[in-house]
Symmetry: C2
Subunit: 129 residues, 2 copies
DNA sequence: ATTATCTTTGATCATATGTTCATATATAAT
DNA sequence: ATTATATATGAACATATGATCAAAGATAAT
């Protein structure tokens, strides 16, 4: 096999050889790609759903708004740990809080979050429908 | 404040005092909670969406099925790294593969995955609608 | 059969993550 | 003002995670 053939799938890109089979698909993907900052925020949002403890809290919040100590009792964690996680969930707009005196009531931020939870549950229960 | 008052929100549960404000909500949450095994799978599925590299790959797969080396070229990672991540995505039924000779074409597993991506993107772009 | 191409796998390592403990803040009650 | 309640924050530590490198399968071509 001569050198031309050997490198038929190697395309010079930014001074280094990168192998690819469908150049047009790679270019199209690059065109369509969302800005990196959005990608980071978006992946961080999913990551916040991607922990058993936080997910358990979120699933419970589908039915009722709950305060920190309730969530701690429910999850079996310390209130500190729950508070830490709620803060991260709040930073990504997955939950919101409402104050009533000393008590802070947490609930799902909006219907997007509910949908993400519903679809995720459906997916793991019926992977092929 | 006498001892009765001091412990009004402390309920003996499994031999240790746990503070909670809404016992009925905690009990209801426990009743409604999905099995732990499902919770683990579900959170792992979101976790797989929760990494910039994997998410970038998945977003690209919305438009086209792509092979490993294309995805490597697109992401700027080694083919090995891409393959590792694709395997994890496949384990959670987020992508599927189709063989054509030596080339393996990856695509989103089903419409659940597309929906999860659409809603996630909508959420970070319009946090309040 | 041998070689090339495309992809996968296992080990390794630096970084990221979740929990706990100690402490601080905020609101309410005495 | 002082004390109690409810929550938040920062530091620390053990574990989990993602990328790389080296090597191995798997399919196709010669």
């Amino acid at each position: 096999m001569d050198e031309k053939n050997q490198f038929q799938n190697r395309i010079n890109k930014d001074l280094c050889n990168v192998r690819m089979i469908h150049l047009e698909r790679v270019l199209y993907a690059k065109q369509q790609a969302i800005p990196f900052k959005e990608l980071e925020v978006m992946s961080m949002m999913y990551k916040m759903l991607g922990d058993p403890t936080r997910l358990k809290m979120l699933m419970a919040l589908r039915d009722n708004e709950m305060c920190v100590c309730d969530l701690a009792a429910f999850t079996g964690l310390t209130e500190s740990a729950v508070s830490h996680q709620l803060r991260r969930l709040r930073d990504l707009a997955l939950v919101k809080k409402r104050r009533a005196g000393q008590v802070l009531y947490y609930s799902l931020d909006d219907e997007h979050v509910e949908e993400l939870l519903e679809i995720g549950l459906a997916h793991i229960r019926d992977p092929y429908t």
